[in-house]
Amino acid sequence: MLKLDKTEIWLVVSALVLLASAFLLPNWLTFILTLALAKALVVQGVVIQMRAGLVSFGQGLFFCIGGYSVGMGGAFLNIHDAFVLVALGVAASVGVAAILGLLMTRYRDIFFAMLSLALSMILYGLIVKNQALGSTDGFNVHDVSFLGWMPAGEDQKLVIFVLTVIVAGGIAIALNRYMKSGLGGVNEAIKENEIRVEFLGLSPRWILYANYLFAAGISAVGGAFTALATGHVDPEMAFWTTSGEFVFIALLGGTSHVAAPFIAAVLFALVRTYALELAPHSWQMILGFVLLAIIVFLPKGLWSLVAGKRRAAA
């Protein structure tokens, strides 16, 4: 049924290795990996739109919707099944994206970035002022069951890690297909020359709209898993510096390979964890210098380092 190409085979292998390592690695590392993989899904949402020429400085909006849907589902609607909660998050996120997308796809580069930033700050403003949602403190996510099964305390984190790896792997394969598909190619074409795409009989606006919705969906999955893993949600998820971080990681990895955002997210998480421990007051500075180095020396991102100059070499 599913004929996997070379990259997809390696994706499956990497996922299996990660799953196996779950039992070897200390649980604080699996926790960091869970968060990194969940964050990588949001970064994929940024990357898809970046490949079409749009830089979203407000992807935190859908990351937050995904997270809060899980939190609110548990606290207010008494839904405690993980799969239903994640689906709820994706549905809410794609619903919001369906409306906002009509407006957002009319804009390009700086204006798209600023409007997306403004919209995510509006959500931030709404949540911060809302008492029932614990305003700036946010609130805890209740324990979840997985199709009825309720694992004991610490195992729950392991189950969430396994679930994240599997879902992230599935999405990675879908993204790989998408990037190499006709639609994926047209995406890059829109970035290069939107008018030509129009004169080839396609509607760039509807393709960007589809991108926007797809990115919103996987960002919500990222938000949902982050909420499940940390057990807490707060308005910080929609703040513009969080969205800035997603753009940072997207650039760190580069947009040319589906695995790049995953590797970049893990590296970012590790660099930040060590930087936080070593220099609690200047970890942001370290990240700032890393970003500058990437832009100056590796415009195509870390990925171009590893994949070598495949185009020129062929």
């Binding site: 804009y107 204006f111 409007l115 002022k129 510096t241 753009v247 500075m285 990240l287 700032g288």
Partner: protein, 299 residues
């Protein structure tokens, strides 16, 4: 009726502060097409240098108090020029060929660096230097009392606005600058030293940000994070007014300022949300802002 006066005057005070903060940002974007995320850090550097200098001056308590205002401006000028030159010459001048959106991310990296740099240099604890603020006393307008320092800020903002507008529209360098804004390549072809223009503009932009910070320092407790706070507000003003236009920044500051003042008085709950609401609304209707030029699609 008094609430209407209160909203108008509070709105004016807040608008003048917003304009001072946004002026540097819109000047730099106008000429250099760089949306400077690090502008908030220049604001906080100006605030920190101003606050620490004035704090030191008053702890000694020898000189006449009114010198502290000169000290504030001096601190802003020095820190603005030094930091501006350092960044422009050290980094930005090599990157003018890069496309706009990448420059936004370069300045985001600068923001991350400068935010931590200020923490390392000035520490984490807040600076309270209220003497210059309370020195000017207060005055009554109707039954309302306002700090003279705030009212003075309106005048200072007006001066800065007029200065920017006049240099841009009524001086020779202004004409040349506008040529660079229209088309960089042709300006170079006509022998304009664009490199110098960019360096000067960037330093002016950072110094304007630092001045805004230094002049605000006496009115607030200067602490980490005020820079990040200010950037998004400055974006709202500049985007509403139209990127790169001084008149736009003035009108944008007034619009956002008065809306926020109304919100604080009438519906404090929606205060934060209302600013971004205005920004999203204007962007939806006129993406290039009230005064921005519509970028034609040439094929």
């Amino acid at each position: 009726m008094t609430t209407l006066y209160a909203i108008l005057i509070d709105g004016m005070i807040y608008a003048s502060w917003l304009f001072m903060v946004a002026a540097g940002l819109t000047v730099i974007y106008g000429v250099m097409r760089i949306l400077n995320m690090a502008h908030g850090s220049f604001y906080s550097i100006g605030a920190y240098t101003g606050a620490s200098l004035v704090g030191w001056y008053f702890s000694g308590a020898q000189g006449a108090p009114y010198w502290s205002y000169a000290l504030l401006l001096g601190a802003a000028l020095v820190s603005g020029v030094v930091v501006g030159l350092l960044i422009e010459q050290g980094l930005l001048q090599f990157m003018y060929k890069r496309d706009e959106i990448l420059m936004v991310i370069v300045t985001y990296a600068l923001l991350l660096i400068l935010e931590d740099a200020t923490k390392l240099i000035f520490g984490v604890d807040p600076y309270f230097t209220f003497q210059p603020y309370s020195l000017l006393g207060r005055s009554e307008i109707g039954e309302l009392t306002f700090a003279n320092y705030d009212l003075a800020l309106i005048a200072v903002a007006a001066v800065i606005g007029a200065a920017c507008w006049l240099t841009l529209n009524r001086t020779h360098t202004g004409k040349v600058l506008r040529a660079v804004i229209q088309d960089r390549e042709i300006a170079i072809a006509m022998g304009v030293n664009v490199k110098l223009m960019f360096a000067a503009t960037f330093v002016v932009g950072t110094t304007l940000g630092a001045i805004a910070g230094a002049l605000t320092a006496p009115a607030i407790s200067v602490s980490p994070g005020i820079g990040v706070e200010v950037i998004v507000l400055a974006f709202a003003v500049v985007v509403v007014g139209g990127l790169g236009s001084i008149e736009g920044a003035i009108v944008g500051a007034l619009l956002v300022g008065i809306t926020r003042a109304a919100a604080v008085h009438l519906a404090p709950q929606i205060e934060l949300f209302v600013i971004y609401g205005v920004m999203a609304l204007v962007l939806a209707v006129r993406p290039q802002g009230l005064f921005g030029r519509d970028l034609a699609r040439k094929i």
